[in-house]
């Protein structure tokens, strides 16, 4: 297959745009409700008004202008864009799963039983003792973890003293933001020449002010923090807690567990590791797991089981409370449970094996230099000499989704690439060809790309200068 042949999904030369709903038809209706005083109600409402067949056509067209996991390779580094098994969607659509959270425990035993088993599975997979499924996304899991950390130190009479959270310079942006939201000052530690935590810098940063160190392993460069045991001792000796960012868990499945590495708190990105769909930005789910000494602080609720096999929602004794109004993103959690159960021990072990095999094979075939290794489930190549953003746009013309770009900043013009276990050798070859074809483009050619997508390069600077954030602000709607 020639590499251009897959690039047909997006550009239809006869019809490049789909009008906005409001440009199709818009109707104003009067509002008057019997029994409601006029002072309570609005006079009228204006909204698009189109029939079901047009609604179906509109959204189908929009879906065709969107690159999904089955549109081609989707190697976004740190995002773990693996295939989302279809059967989990059918389970989430089962009316039996569509239950109200205020039903008493006795009347929603089915949901609670699945939540309980998922808690146990997640705890075992990361070597944690207890898990709460409440946080609705990874960043919410981080926030919950930070609140747990704060409650723990407060109980030790150290809340006023432990004011800092340490984060490696190459960490996910959410780590910094979650720590700050929890009221902590963020202290950044640099990486050493190997792209790992600089132990000397860490020792210098640690002290009686340290509340926690947030870390992901393998780190965002795709390399293992080999000194993890020493890091854990240093943090614990300083009286801090060690927090595991679960974003890169796919590399460790069945082979190593954060709990055994000395981590005290971990969050799980089930929309990464456990194949629940990203949904174009969400919903995800961000369960948080802890070791025994922190179990009493977990978010409310945790599901427990009685001797008579009755499942119950329980508020842990010193719970931080809630980070979501109810019980989190249940329908997402259900899909994660089904995925883990489908794979079992062997499947999870195979997922990490093939994820690491794929990343290493692709790394071998890509012509851009890869400064740090040995790479595990992802690698960060350098497009130095080219602009990584232009590289990404150009890759679209080859029918593949580009990698994550310009991050981590440790690598010049970073191309952060994570093919996951689901790509075949043929698809990885195709992806490597796309990388290498773009590497050979000169600056003028790069600036012209992409040519085959539904729109060309977008002026995002102008969009931010004078934002137009709704159809009401578009001056002359196109018809």
């Amino acid at each position: 297959m020639k590499i251009h042949e897959q690039a047909r999904w997006y550009r239809r030369d006869d019809d490049l745009t789909e009008p906005l709903l409001v440009e199709k038809d818009s109707t104003t209706v009067d509002v008057s409700v019997d029994g409601l005083d006029d002072s309570l109600t609005r006079d009228e409402l204006t909204l698009p008004n189109i029939a079901e067949p047009e609604v179906a056509a509109h959204y189908t067209r929009l879906s065709q202008m969107t690159f999904g996991i089955e549109s081609g390779p989707y190697p976004l580094g740190s995002c773990t864009m693996k295939y989302n098994p279809k059967f989990t969607e059918r389970l989430a659509a089962d009316p039996g799963a569509h239950v109200h959270p205020d039903l008493p425990d006795e009347a929603c035993q089915g949901i609670l039983e699945i939540m309980y088993h998922l808690q146990r599975y997640l705890a075992r997979i990361c070597g944690m003792d207890r898990v709460s499924l409440q946080p609705p996304a990874g960043a919410a899991g981080e926030f919950a973890g930070i609140l747990i950390c704060r409650a723990f130190h407060a109980d030790n009479g150290e809340d006023g003293q432990r004011t800092e959270v340490i984060v490696p310079a190459s960490a996910h942006g959410t780590n910094f933001a979650s720590a700050a939201m929890g009221g902590y000052e963020v202290v950044t530690v640099p990486s050493n020449e190997e792209g790992r935590v600089d132990l000397e810098a860490l020792e210098a940063a640690l002290g009686p002010e340290t509340a926690a160190l947030m870390l992901t392993n393998p780190n965002t460069l795709g390399v293992i923090e080999r000194d993890i045991e020493e890091i854990a001792s240093l943090v614990h000796e300083a009286g801090g807690l060690l927090y595991y960012d679960g974003a890169n868990l796919n590399a460790l499945l069945g082979r190593a567990r954060p709990g055994d590495m000395g981590f005290d708190i971990t969050h799980y990105n089930v929309h990464k590791t456990f194949a629940t769909p990203h949904g174009g930005g969400g919903p995800g789910a961000g369960p948080v797991g802890v070791t025994d000494r922190l179990a009493d602080y977990l978010p409310d609720p945790v599901v427990t089981v009685d001797d008579d096999e009755t499942y119950r929602r329980v508020t842990p004794e010193r719970s931080i409370g809630k980070v979501h109004g109810f019980e989190g993103n249940w329908l997402v959690l259900l899909k994660a449970f089904a995925y883990i159960a489908r794979l079992g021990d062997d499947g999870l072990l195979d997922a990490s094996a093939k994820a690491v095999l794929n990343a290493n094979y692709l790394a071998e075939r890509v012509g851009y230099p890869i400064p740090y290794g040995p790479v595990q489930h992802e690698f960060v190549a350098s497009a130095s000499g080219q602009d990584a953003g232009e590289v990404a746009r150009a890759m679209l013309d080859y029918g593949v989704h580009p990698p994550t770009t310009k991050w981590p900043e440790l690598v010049d013009e970073a191309l952060m690439t994570e093919p996951t276990e689901v790509e075949t050798k043929e698809s990885l070859d195709h992806l490597a060809d796309a990388f290498n074809a773009v590497r050979d483009l000169d600056d003028d050619e790069l600036a012209e790309r992409p040519k085959r997508t539904s729109v060309r390069k977008i002026d995002q600077v102008a969009a931010a200068r004078s934002p137009v954030l709704n159809w009401q602000s578009i001056e002359t709607p196109k018809s």
Binding site: V99, M181, I224, G281, G282, L343, S454
Partner: protein
């Protein structure tokens, strides 16, 4: 390759043995295990004791577990609602490009999704009258938490205390307190009067230290707030922000938050598009245009490509965690985008007439039910002398929990709030279900 159910390992890792060999050869390794760099001291050498199941087995297993949920007519509300969702939403939103794609950081490859989110934002702008709506937060509770820290960043506000209704949903209260803990914002309560804000009592509480006044319409008890405008003025007089909690159905008939002086609107937009899902939500967040640069969450804007074609992209991204890190407006990354897509699709299907008709029925049907319950000896409904939306509270002479449990045995789920107060919610249930419920109440009470 063998069939999906007989293969060892992950059924979603498609490598043949020959391919694996060829790839290892290219890498220069003899075994996949060689590629791992995990220190031996922390290597895991055990199993999780999780047996693999075939697709058929796990499907049957999950369904048989879910069968243990009681099969009841759900008349529960209080922040999570059971609305009818048209089939088109399930079918079209499940298209794999929507369901499986990532956040739209590569706009040239995600124009369709960006446009759908832009349309969602526009819909909320129409409903709230405010100039900016983001393309989702997690749920109503976290949106309220974000509203408090957002208010603290606004230039025109000062003060450090957020005033919330005493009837605020406990899950929202707890989440709000967690969002407020970091920046040290105090959460305080104002009293209610017959199910809505006690404006006089609130007036006595508001001072220069007030950062934000939060009110809901409909409230968690289903009452519609008659004094929104006065609350907005009160906030304004004290350089505080006014945050109104609502939802898209209610907003389609209520006076717009903009008209009553709201600076922020939060709520659960998942009343559109999302089935009852154990509390999963869609955080609505809208505010005035002048505050856009302090807004949490993603925003989609319009631009042009280099040929001058209209194009969409995420915009004002320097507010966000992946750029601004600890100085970001929020830590949110993954949001509820796909639920927002479903909500917009549902609204497009309803159109303005469908939305207004539905919302009107959520005023009329509870009123009719309250009249029928009130006619039963030993029942008084509604408790509050207010207009209601979707739900209302009612009193019984008996013990409320006992009544709720007895109704559950008859197949009807309602809330028991305290010793003698219950709450019931009516959305799109068929009339026969409501009739059955009224009969069940008659039986249980007498």
């Amino acid at each position: 390759m063998s069939s999906p159910d007989t293969e060892d390992g992950s059924p979603y890792a498609p490598h043949t043995e020959a391919e694996t060999e060829a790839m290892l050869d290219a890498i220069g390794a003899s075994d996949v295990e060689e590629l791992f760099d995990i220190p031996s001291a922390v290597a895991f050498d055990d199993t999780f004791d999780i047996p693999a199941r075939s697709e058929a087995e796990i499907t049957h297993e999950v369904r048989s577990i879910l069968d243990r949920n009681a099969s009841v007519t759900c008349l529960l509300g209080r922040g999570h609602y059971d609305h009818f969702i048209p089939a088109i939403v399930d079918h079209i939103a499940d298209r794999s490009e929507f369901l499986t794609s990532y956040t739209q950081y590569q706009p040239e490859a995600s124009q369709g999704y960006l446009q759908a989110l832009f349309e969602y934002q526009s819909l909320l702008v129409e409903l709230t009258g405010l100039g900016v709506a983001n393309c989702s937060l997690y749920d109503a509770a976290s949106a309220l938490g974000e509203a408090a820290t957002f208010a603290a960043r606004l230039r025109h506000t000062d003060g450090n205390r957020v005033l919330v209704p005493e009837l605020l949903h406990p899950g929202r209260r707890s989440t709000l307190e967690n969002y407020c803990a970091g920046p040290g914002i105090e959460v305080a309560t104002y009293p209610s009067d017959d199910g809505t804000a006690d404006v006089d009592a609130l007036e006595a509480l508001v001072d220069d230290d007030t950062l934000m006044i939060y009110a809901e319409s409909p409230t968690i008890r289903g009452t519609l707030e008659p004094a929104s405008r006065a609350l907005g003025e009160l906030a304004d007089d004290h350089d505080a922000a006014f945050c109104l909690g609502s939802d898209p159905y209610a907003l389609s008939i209520l006076e717009t938050p903009h008209e009553v002086g709201a600076d922020i609107v939060v709520g659960d937009a998942g009343v559109l598009g999302l089935p009852t899902s154990f509390g999963m939500g869609l955080g609505l967040f809208a505010t005035r245009e002048e505050y856009v640069r302090q807004t949490p969450g993603r925003l989609v804007g319009v631009s042009e490509d280099l040929e001058g074609t209209r194009a969409f992209s995420l915009t004002l991204v320097t507010r966000e965690q992946h750029i601004r890190r600890e100085r970001a407006t929020s830590n949110i990354c993954t949001n509820q985008a796909w639920v927002a897509l479903r909500a917009a699709m549902h609204a497009a299907w309803l159109g303005p007439t469908g939305l207004v008709d539905a919302a009107t029925s959520y005023v009329e049907r509870p009123r009719e039910l309250a009249e029928r319950l009130d006619a039963i000896d030993g029942v008084s409904a509604p408790v509050h002398d207010r207009a209601h939306f979707r739900e209302f509270t009612w009193r019984v002479d008996d013990d409320a929990s006992k009544v709720a449990n007895a109704l559950l045995e008859h197949g009807y789920a309602v809330h028991a709030l305290d010793d003698d107060t219950l709450q019931v919610c009516v959305t799109d249930q068929p009339n026969a279900a409501i009739d059955g419920f009224v009969h069940a109440v008659e039986e249980v009470i007498t």
